[in-house]
């Protein structure tokens, strides 16, 4: 039951696939901006006509009808393009062509406003115009129509950032000049000035001459020694030690300082209150 239907279907597909597309009455017209026809010719698919020349304001119109099997009914292909190919520069541009359901098509190219996909042209370039038609059910069709000479396109405007896309000058790092130490005389003067406050301090302290009767008592001297050790540790840190080491030693010394300090300060407090 299935097989007769399949045969019919296959026959139908085969018949439609075999059908080729053809162009009927292809024709082009060149008209000036005020509507005067400059040139109007049917396009011969076998013998190429002389190149079509377009002025900067002219309009080119191409009309044709797509038919099935020469002279048959008009069909609407699924895709239709006009290809403009410049074989000097190798650039091409594709323009879709709208084909109506009865196969008639009309394409218009206004040189005053060329489409953006139109290839850039030089003064001596000749564009080959061909028509490409694609269909799901027919054999594809590609025909050369004519040669087209158009005015050279405007030079490409340079992009504002174009200058950055070239090799740039080599980056050379510049450093601030090495800072200089001041002259030895000025250094000496200011060293003396910086040391001068010590003279003031020693002078003032010797005038006051505070009494420290308990400094060397056994309960106080360990605290003083610990404080001295702290300062020595910091000097050692400046000269040689690393941060981790100084923190480690400092922590150990800190524990010692807590006990010696507690003993010493309790002793000092007792002395102050006069309980000893």
């Amino acid at each position: 039951m299935k097989s007769p239907m399949l045969v019919v279907l296959l026959a139908f597909v085969a018949s439609t696939y075999a059908a080729a597309l053809a162009l009927q009455s292809p024709k082009f017209t060149v008209s000036s901006p005020n509507g005067d026809q400059i040139r109007s010719e049917p396009i011969s698919l076998t013998k190429k006509s002389s190149p079509v020349r377009l002025g900067p304001q002219d309009v080119l119109r191409v009309t044709f009808q797509v038919t099935e099997n020469d002279g048959g009914t008009g069909v609407q292909p699924h895709q239709a393009f006009l290809r403009f190919y410049d074989n000097i520069s190798g650039e091409d541009g594709l323009q879709p062509v709208r084909v109506t359901s009865n196969g008639k098509a009309r394409f218009e190219l206004n040189m005053a406003r060329p489409p953006s996909s139109f290839p850039p042209t030089s003064p001596d370039s000749v564009l080959k115009v061909s028509l490409i038609i694609g269909s799901f059910v027919h054999k594809p069709l590609a025909v050369d129509l004519f040669d087209l000479i158009v005015p050279a396109s405007q030079p490409v405007a340079s992009h504002p950032e174009e200058v950055y896309y070239h090799p740039q000058p080599v980056i050379e790092h510049t450093f601030r000049p090495e800072q200089k130490t001041p002259p030895a005389f000025i250094s000496a003067v200011f060293s003396a000035l910086v040391l001068a406050p010590w003279v003031v301090l020693v002078g003032l302290w010797s005038q006051l001459s505070p009494k420290v009767p308990n400094l060397f008592s056994l309960k106080i001297i360990p605290f003083t020694a610990t404080l001295g050790a702290f300062e020595l540790l910091l000097v050692w840190y400046w000269v040689d030690l690393r941060l981790g080491q100084v923190l480690l030693y400092g922590a150990g010394l800190g524990i010692v300082a807590v006990f010696t300090g507690k003993t010493a300060l309790v002793q000092v407090g007792k002395l102050r209150k006069g309980s000893i």
Binding site: F190, L193, V200, P210, E231, V266, G269
Partner: protein
Amino acid sequence: MAPQKTATKPQTSAPASPVESLWKAYSDNTSKRLKFIDSFLVFLMLSGIVQFLYCILVTNFPFNAFLAGFSSCVGQFVLTASLRSQVNPENKETFKEVSPERAFADFVVGSIVLHFFVFNFLG
């Protein structure tokens, strides 16, 4: 400054000027221990001023050494000034719960931390 004042106001009797009377009151009424701290404060102030003058007049190079020296003066001054205010018998009422020993312990801890940072900066 003091002689000028006496010149403009000759009728003022001794003490000759407010500054002089201030100085006299200070030296008479301040205990030796506080004077001891005060001389240290003066030393720190002078030391800091000289370093700052060097920085603006000559050079700030090496800057880290200047930072270390100047900040040690300023920091030590602040610590010592707070020690002075806490051990001053006249401020007993303000620092009721802070004994002079406690104040000194705070001063020691603060100084050690300060010196650690100073040596760190010294480079």
